[in-house]
């Protein structure tokens, strides 16, 4: 369980790095975001999501296929995906 929490924290940290310098109020997003929040519903733009995925790739040293993007809509989806890839 602690491993999952640690991964979730890492994923979120990477997300905040992705959104820095953009048009977001990061503090507001931090208060809204849960593991089940859909990225589009909290207003993330598609290019920022791609930036986020690219940073995840680098951090976890995995290759994310573009075909997978559409199903990675929440932090929980990404956790599951990383587990499937043996990266979490």
């Amino acid at each position: 369980m602690s491993t999952v929490s640690s991964t979730e924290t890492t994923i979120k940290d990477i997300l905040w790095q992705s959104l820095a310098g953009g048009s977001y109020n990061i503090e507001t997003l931090k208060s809204q975001l849960t593991a089940d929040s859909r990225f589009d519903e909290i207003g993330l733009d598609s290019l920022d999501i791609v930036d986020f995925f690219l940073r995840l790739q680098d951090h976890f040293e995995i290759k994310m296929r573009e075909e997978d993007y559409a199903r990675l809509t929440t932090i929980k989806d990404i956790q599951t995906y990383l587990e499937e890839k043996g990266a979490a």
């Binding site: 310098g21 953009g22 048009s23 589009d40 733009d45 598609s46 290019l47 920022d48 999501i49 791609v50 930036d51 995925f53 690219l54 940073r55 790739q57 680098d58 951090h59 573009e66 993007y69 559409a70």
Partner: protein
């Protein structure tokens, strides 16, 4: 090197953070009238059946419509067919609600200076070619639009000229560029893209290489006037169309391939003058043959959105940054383009404004 490593290179990081501030733009396109003084060869508007609907001429209905678009999350409008300058009340209604956007115009009639959208003025050739390619609706030779455009938009910072290369007009650019540069305006490039049903003699066949060379020559000779990058020239004159090279992200293409739309594929709509739209025509150039699409507006979304296809080498990422920097300078009023980060081998030292 990887994406995060590229961002440790200072000039790359600086450019990325510059363009990233505009990732939030969420666009849609709107035909606002079926009326135009001209009938341009292969005009995207008069292809297909979208011009056959009945115009909604009630500016208050348009205002209410744009309020709904704003509520839908649209932050950027592209007002196109047929000739938006002919419906000033609708332009004002749009600007009052969504103050960020651009208008595609033939420039024969000026647009209220209070409407602070970017204005794309189309140029199809020099004084010999433009009247032939863009005739009056009666079929008579057209007016040669450039002198009227320069008069109507003198010292107007909203204007950017868009020169459409076709199969035979590459060398006509010289006269056009000389006049636009002389008047202190900016110019960018479009590439004629064949209609879906009625193939045009203007379709580029064996002239892609010549077109690329002409674009490059113009960029290097007029670095303060021409808003374009080496990478723009490469992708828009490649043998592959934009769809073939990058995969199209517009709803029309996504639906045709049965894909789950992401990004602009979920939000972009191409509205007709009766305020309706249909997913199978939701792209910026409906009724264009995707296999020949090299349109500048299509590329602005297709190439810019494909960040992930440009991170397997530093030179590709630099090229993508130039492309996005160019796209923003063409579409966002007041945005200034920086020097090219990507220079192909054999080209002179980095240029740009």
């Amino acid at each position: 090197m990887s994406f995060t490593e590229f961002l440790r290179v200072p000039e790359i990081a600086q450019r990325y953070h510059k363009v990233k501030q505009y990732f939030y733009l969420r666009e849609s396109a709107y035909d606002v009238t079926s009326v135009c003084q001209l009938r341009c060869e292969g005009c995207y508007y008069f292809e297909g059946d979208k011009y056959k609907v009945e115009d909604n001429r009630d500016s208050e209905a348009w205002r209410a419509f744009f309020e709904k678009e704003k509520a839908r999350g649209i932050t950027y409008v592209v007002l196109a067919g047929a000739e938006p300058a002919l419906v000033p009340k609708i332009l004002k209604a749009c600007y009052d609600v969504i103050p960020f956007g651009s208008i595609a115009s033939n420039g024969l009639k000026g647009i209220d200076p209070a409407i602070r959208y970017k204005i794309h003025l189309s140029v199809w050739g020099d004084s010999t070619g433009d009247p032939v390619y863009r005739r009056y609706s009666s079929g008579k030779l057209g007016p040669n639009c450039l002198p009227a455009q320069l008069k109507n938009y003198k010292n107007d910072d909203r204007a950017i000229f868009v020169y459409t290369f076709n199969h035979e007009n590459a060398n006509q650019l010289d006269e056009v560029l000389n006049r636009i540069d002389g008047d202190g305006h900016k110019l960018t490039f479009n590439v004629f893209s064949d209609p879906l049903l009625n193939s045009s003699p203007l379709k580029l066949r064996d002239t892609l290489k010549q077109t690329r060379e002409k674009m490059t020559e113009a960029m290097e000779e007029y670095p303060d006037t021409v808003i374009y990058s080496y990478y723009n020239a490469e992708v828009h004159t490649d043998e592959k169309s934009l769809q073939q090279g990058f995969g199209c992200i517009y709803p029309r293409a996504q639906q045709a391939k049965g894909k789950t739309p992401i990004g602009i594929g979920k939000t972009f709509r191409s509205y007709r003058t009766d305020l309706t739209h249909a997913t199978h025509t939701d792209c910026c150039v409906p009724d264009t043959n995707c296999a020949d699409c090299r349109h500048y507006a299509a590329g602005s979304a297709i190439v810019s959105s494909r960040l992930n296809l440009h991170t397997d080498s530093e030179s590709k990422f630099r090229a993508w940054l130039d492309y996005v920097d160019t796209y923003l300078a063409v579409w966002v009023l007041g945005y200034r383009r920086d020097k090219n980060l990507y220079v192909p081998s054999g080209a002179p030292a980095p240029l740009g404004v």
